[in-house]
């Protein structure tokens, strides 16, 4: 799971994963629609309308939803490829969103506010991940448990902020006031909701692909991910330091995702600002087989799935919750495929 194996198998095997995934998605959706006595044609039309059916659906629903999923997918992919089981993207996202919101509301004027808020989000995400990284480096604490704990701490931090120091002036609603327009990220296409954050995600995907492929740091990260012991003995890699770097980078990207979401989409901070983006991102990264460029594709896939499912709930009454089932099946499907592939390699 953590290594990116070269393709040795037959071409039909390479075609199999997307086919299996697509079949699972369609199968679950049909099952949910039929079991709930919804109209099949009407439901699928709603799904299509909400995801790819129009320019607005694609640019303003699918890609807007894909933006945090792509960024967080990159964060998870980077960590997993480096052998760091960071399941704290959710918390790092919330840390970034909180920091960006605090600065967006701080009264800094003009375009300077974005130049402060977004880097603050990156820094906050990195710091949040650094806690888990430090605990691992200094005390050997399993990052699975520490990042999970920090997700909850971040959730309560947001809950405190939006009911305490950052609450809107009337003190009625548990949210911040809406950011002034100078703290809104520029839109990419006029009349569409797609914002600069998605362009950042695309550039970042390219940058990470290049980093893993062509830089010394990328080589070290991959070596540690492939096997820490071998990396230490053969590659002259200081494993703890490299892992700490992976924590920082992964957290920074997740924090950026949070900063981009509040300044590009919601223009405010509130509880539940992430409907589990950080966990969905694990499916995004795994389906991409932890390859940064493939994350762009799987980000769009999951963005479209969620946008289409939202429309299906709105227009045809089909429960949105099935999306989590699809995401889980995708992950389990990838695991089963890896298993069958590894069996194929063992037997000549």
């Amino acid at each position: 799971m953590t290594t990116h194996t070269e393709h040795r198998s037959h071409s039909w095997r390479q075609l199999l994963p997307p086919v299996v995934v697509a079949a699972a998605v369609v199968g679950v959706i049909v099952l949910v629609i039929v079991a709930g006595h919804h109209d099949l044609a009407q439901s699928f039309q709603a799904f299509w309308r909400g995801s790819f059916g129009s320019a607005y659906a694609f640019w303003s629903a699918t890609l807007v939803r894909a933006t945090p999923l792509t960024l967080l997918g990159l964060a998870v992919a980077l960590a997993f490829r480096s052998g760091v089981m960071n399941i704290g993207a959710e918390g790092q996202f919330l840390a970034g969103a909180s920091a960006a919101s605090a600065l967006a509301l701080s009264g800094i004027r003009g375009t300077l506010v974005l130049w402060v808020a977004v880097p603050a989000a990156i820094l906050a995400g990195a710091l949040w991940a650094a806690i888990a990284g430090w605990l691992k480096r200094r005390f050997g604490v399993l990052e699975v448990i520490s990042t999970l704990m920090l997700n909850f701490v971040a959730q309560y931090l947001v809950s405190y902020l939006v009911r305490g120091p950052l609450q809107e002036p009337t003190h009625v609603y548990p949210q911040t006031e809406t950011f002034s327009t100078s703290a809104h990220l520029p839109l990419l296409i006029s009349g569409q909701r797609l914002h600069l954050g998605y362009a950042i995600a695309l550039v970042l995907a390219l940058a990470l692909w290049w980093m893993f492929r062509s830089t010394a740091l990328g080589f070290r990260l991959r070596a540690v991910g492939a096997g820490p012991d071998a990396a230490a003995s053969a590659g002259h890699v200081v494993v703890p330091r490299v892992m700490f770097t992976a924590f920082l980078l992964s957290g920074a990207i997740a924090g950026l995702a949070g900063g981009v979401e509040v300044t590009g989409v919601t223009y405010a901070l509130y509880e539940g600002i992430s409907p589990g983006f950080g966990y969905t991102a694990i499916a995004v990264a795994l389906l991409a087989r932890l390859h940064p460029l493939a994350v762009i594709g799987t980000g769009i896939f999951f963005g479209a799935l969620e946008a289409g499912a939202a429309a299906m709930q709105r227009d045809a009454g089909v429960p949105f919750q099935f999306v989590a089932v699809v995401e889980a099946l995708v992950v389990l499907g990838v695991i089963a495929l890896e298993w069958s592939r590894s069996r194929g390699e063992v037997r000549p």
Binding site: F152, S159, A324, V325
Partner: protein, 302 residues
């Protein structure tokens, strides 16, 4: 002050009960070397299974339904993690998403979009004579539904079983050094399957308790992160049955503290009380030198 103390203890034990069931299940899984992040899915499956079964045949069958549903979800997890030797964390995350998503979807399909008012019969409190009139803690410990008393039996039995029986030793051996256990004729795969099914049953009971002894209804996402809290409880309880039940009470107390603080008129934000146990868990992990008390093979594939 005294007026608020008895309700505080009562709320502590009530909140701790489902957590303790799930955490004791997780304890057994982790002692066998499997970290089950899918526990959240197990709990919510138990909650939903309990609702459906209780609606059909009463509270008693409801608890049975909760256990079966929890074990079913745990079996999916065990198939991937033990049989296919998949990564524990990734599989567990998927199983949690599956449980929450599937119960949410099924709930809408079975009970429609307006199922919010759906009520299920619940298990009434059964005060134990004399004991329940002990001041302050009597009502909290001995004025609970009978399912809570089951815990008072399970905790000492499990502690004894883990330490003093051959089967308990085999389980711990698989969690510490699976190769050595294997050389001694113990099948790690079989032990882990059994441990995970037990974990599923306990997680299911935790979910069932939530619906059938406390809330009296189901809503989407009712597990509300309890599966993850249970994992923290196992860490904080230093992988022992008695420690785990103490840590469950601590988490229960932290969540009850918000009402207590309100009643006392303290100005501390309740989020700090709720976040405190997670911070304590991190400190406990760091203070004990990380994995020192954790089973050596915890989370290792294979």
């Amino acid at each position: 002050m005294t007026d608020a103390i008895a309700p505080f203890f009562e709320a502590t034990v009530r909140t701790a009960t489902p957590l303790a069931f799930a955490a004791l299940g997780e304890l057994v899984a982790e002692r066998a070397g499997v970290i089950n992040i899918g526990l959240e899915g197990t709990i919510i499956a138990g909650a939903f299974g309990g609702l459906v079964a209780a609606g059909a045949a009463g509270v008693g069958v409801g608890f049975l339904g909760a256990v079966v549903a929890g074990m079913f979800v745990a079996a999916i997890f065990a198939f991937f993690v033990v049989t296919l030797k998949a990564d524990h964390i990734i599989t567990g995350t998927a199983i949690s998403m599956l449980g929450v998503g599937a119960t949410g979807t099924l709930y809408r399909i079975f009970y429609g979009t307006t199922g919010a008012a759906l009520e299920t019969p619940t298990l009434a409190p059964l005060p134990i004579p004399l004991l329940h009139s002990i001041p302050w803690i009597g009502g909290a410990l001995f004025g609970q539904p009978p399912i809570t008393y089951l815990l008072y039996v399970i905790v000492p039995c499990l502690a004894w079983w883990l330490r003093r029986t051959g089967a308990g030793l085999a389980l711990r051996a698989v969690g510490e050094r699976p190769e050595a256990a294997s050389a001694a004729g113990i099948s790690p795969a079989r032990v882990r399957w059994a441990a995970l099914l037990f974990c599923g049953a306990m997680g299911g009971l935790g979910g069932g308790t939530l619906v059938l002894a406390q809330v009296g209804t189901f809503n989407e996402g009712i597990s509300a992160g309890r599966g993850f809290i249970a994992i923290a409880i196992v860490v904080l309880g230093r992988w022992s049955a008695v420690g785990v039940s103490g840590a469950a009470l601590l988490f229960g107390a932290a969540s009850a503290l918000q009402y207590f603080a309100q009643a006392m008129g303290w100005g501390i934000p309740y989020q700090f009380a709720l976040a405190l146990p997670y911070v304590l868990t991190l400190i406990a992990l760091a203070g004990a030198g990380g994995r020192a008390a954790a089973p050596a093979a915890l989370g290792a594939r294979g």
